[in-house]
């Protein structure tokens, strides 16, 4: 059992987890008459790998969209880095240190791998219009500086050999990796992964798991992920939120969740009488 304190805890494998990076308080999200998320509260702590699981249609992706700031919940508060987050436009989210990948790959098919990852750094590129038009001064300088950062990520994820390949030509597993690279290029404090292993074979899953752990370990990035592969979730994550029909039915370490009667009922079904 972990010793939980207000400013962090030690994980089963001995990593120190910090204070609250994000806290969601009593979130309710409705689409017209449909209640997608009902009164959910949980927190994401500095440096941890947090998983959200649940059966299909439980509201996991909606939850991730609330965390990323893409959806604005009707009720509840989102606290990020110690202050309450105001509703904002989708394109402003990235500037606040949140990056994400998508359930269905959302890469830019017409661009090369390198260009795709460079788009992750758009928020850091401030060169003016004229400087870019004549490619002089700041535009060229910042292009090369950001390229250097992107090359580190390319090394890290071992995709050097495909950096100039158009993304449309890549196999599925590599596309997922490029998408992770693009999210990492923004140097996020909180990285959201929507089903990073969906549709992968065992080997690709192992690779991706290793990369997720490495990212967390080397960059200290806080990660929140949705995943259906229970083996992966239980191995990777420090704490797990379980959702069903828009409600939270469990929250805790993988072991606690695994033995939670409500969670077992949600996954295996329960006799109604």
């Amino acid at each position: 059992m972990n010793s939980m304190t207000s400013d962090g805890y030690i994980t089963a494998d001995g990593r120190q987890i910090g204070g609250k990076l994000m806290e969601l308080k009593n979130i309710t999200l409705r689409f017209g008459g449909v209640v997608a998320i009902k009164d959910i509260s949980f927190d994401i702590r500095q440096g941890e790998i947090r998983a959200i699981i649940g059966p299909n249609g439980a509201g996991k992706s909606s939850m991730l969209n609330v965390v990323s700031g893409f959806y604005h919940p009707q009720d509840g508060e989102v606290w990020f880095k110690g202050s309450r987050r105001q509703p904002m436009k989708p394109h402003q989210v990235a500037g606040h240190g949140v990056a994400r990948t998508f359930q269905n790959i959302a890469l830019f098919d017409g661009m090369s791998v390198l260009d795709n990852i460079m788009t992750g750094r758009l928020n850091k590129m401030k060169a003016g219009f004229l400087s870019q038009a004549i490619w002089w001064g700041k535009a060229e300088r910042e292009e090369n500086e950001n390229r250097a950062v992107v090359e580190q990520i390319i090394d890290f994820l071992e995709i050097q050999n495909i950096r100039k390949t158009p993304v449309g030509r890549l196999p599925y597993g590599l596309k997922k990796r490029v998408e992770l690279a693009r999210a990492l290029a923004a140097e996020p404090q909180l990285l959201l992964l929507d089903e990073p292993m969906a549709g992968m074979n065992v080997e690709e899953k192992e690779d991706m798991s290793r990369f997720i752990l490495d990212v967390n370990d080397e960059f200290g990035t806080t990660i929140c992920l949705i995943e259906h592969d229970m083996g992966v979730v239980m191995d990777l994550s420090d704490r797990v939120v379980v959702m069903d029909y828009g409600r939270k039915i469990g929250d805790g370490t993988p072991d606690e969740v695994r033995n939670n009667q409500q969670v077992i009922d949600a996954y295996l079904g329960v006799a109604h009488d």
Binding site: S68, F70, K89, P90, H91, Q92, V93, A94, G95, A99, R100, F102, A106, L107, F108, D109, G110, M111, D115, M118, T119, G120, L122, N123, M125, A127, F129, Q132, A133, I134, W135, A139, E140, E142, E143, N144, R147, A148, E151, R182, A186
Partner: protein
């Protein structure tokens, strides 16, 4: 055997991201520029200037403009003719109002005015996409042509409703009007085409270009990584209209000399430039040149072949020419829907390995 990356090592990111990374290609580019600036102006005659090179360069500018908007930013536009008309009428008003200022400055200003108009008509793109946007820009096309026909102020109350370019000089050489020499016209258009292509390339390789392409390929993902769709789309409209305005200004002042809006800048122009970028290749500067060359040169070639060599009557040749060009476009789109630019890059990929099969 010469077209190789091997041995051509790049030791900086600057070298690695240059426009022509392969030595042979780089030298080829230098050679083309040298010939275009250093040799052609001395050997050009009136026929080559007015039938081939000047319209090719002007349409290449327009094609680059539309390619920025449609090929890079993914916003379909059928308003090219209308925006070219804005450039033409702007330069006409500027030329007649400020006769002492150089025409070259007027052309740039006309581009800037067109950019403002383009942004205005680009506003619907924030709400609508695809075919619906195409229809919205079609409205721009018809409205602008109607406006320039209807308001006499734009054509300085001339009796014919036409606008006529007065003679303007640059360094004592006439560059517009009837006195302009073939090489002067050619050089003016060449300088603008060169600068526009160079600027377009710079813009599309950097962060602005990536914003445009991100919006084109997947707008929701683009927003999530921090691209503001408002500025991305409107900047694409502005840059695109700026280039198209320059093309329209040059077409009127340097090439045509006199123009009537419905005839010179009608919907046909919009389609012509759109065909150019589709045939040349969407999202490619080279493709813009290739497409413009294809659609300007092909009719000239066919006319020379049918009338000159085979001795057919001109009217018959003109009709056959239309049919052949049409058939070629259809064939082209079936065989290589990504245009001449893709064909060119496939050739280059093959060349890298040639003569070895693997």
């Amino acid at each position: 055997m010469l077209y190789r990356e091997a041995g051509d090592f790049k030791t900086s990111y600057r070298d690695d991201s240059q426009t022509f990374p392969i030595k042979l290609e780089r030298w080829g580019y230098y050679a083309v520029v040298a010939v275009a600036f250093g040799i052609v102006p001395f050997v050009i005659n009136d026929y080559w200037a007015s039938a081939v090179l000047v319209p090719f360069l002007i349409y290449a500018i327009a094609a680059i403009g539309l390619n920025v908007l449609t090929g890079y930013a993914g916003q379909v536009s059928l308003g090219t003719g209308g925006f070219m008309a804005v450039g033409a009428y702007a330069v006409y008003k500027l030329m007649t109002a400020f006769p002492d200022v150089s025409l070259l400055i007027h052309v740039v200003l006309a581009g800037a005015i067109t950019a403002v108009v383009g942004v205005l008509f680009g506003l619907p793109s924030l709400r609508i996409k695809g075919f619906y946007l195409a229809v919205a820009t079609l409205a721009a096309q018809f409205f602008l042509v109607w406006l320039f026909n209807k308001v006499p102020w734009f054509y300085n109350y001339s009796a014919s409703g036409q606008i006529t370019a007065p003679t303007r000089t640059f360094m004592e050489q006439a560059i517009s009007g009837p006195a302009a020499s073939a090489s002067a016209k050619y050089l003016v258009c060449l300088v603008f085409a060169f600068l526009v292509a160079w600027m377009a390339r710079n813009l599309t390789r950097g962060s602005i270009g990536r914003r445009w392409m991100a919006i084109r390929d997947m707008d929701i993902a683009a927003e999530i990584i921090g691209v503001n769709p408002l500025t991305a789309k409107l900047s694409a409209f502005a840059v695109s209209s700026f280039f198209i305005g320059i093309a329209g200004a040059l077409l009127f002042s340097v090439y045509l000399g006199a123009a009537e809006v419905g005839e010179a800048f009608g919907i046909n122009k919009s389609f012509l430039v759109l065909f150019m970028i589709i045939i040349g290749g969407l999202g490619s500067i080279f493709g813009s040149f290739a497409g413009a060359a294809f659609l300007v040169l092909l009719p000239v070639l066919l006319k020379n072949l049918l009338v000159g060599n085979l001795g057919w009557p001109t009217d018959l040749a003109a009709h056959i020419e239309l049919m052949i060009v049409g058939a070629l476009i259809v064939t082209f789109l079936i065989v290589e829907p990504h245009g001449l630019a893709r064909l060119w890059s496939l050739t280059k990929e093959k060349l890298r390995l040639w003569p070895f099969p693997h």
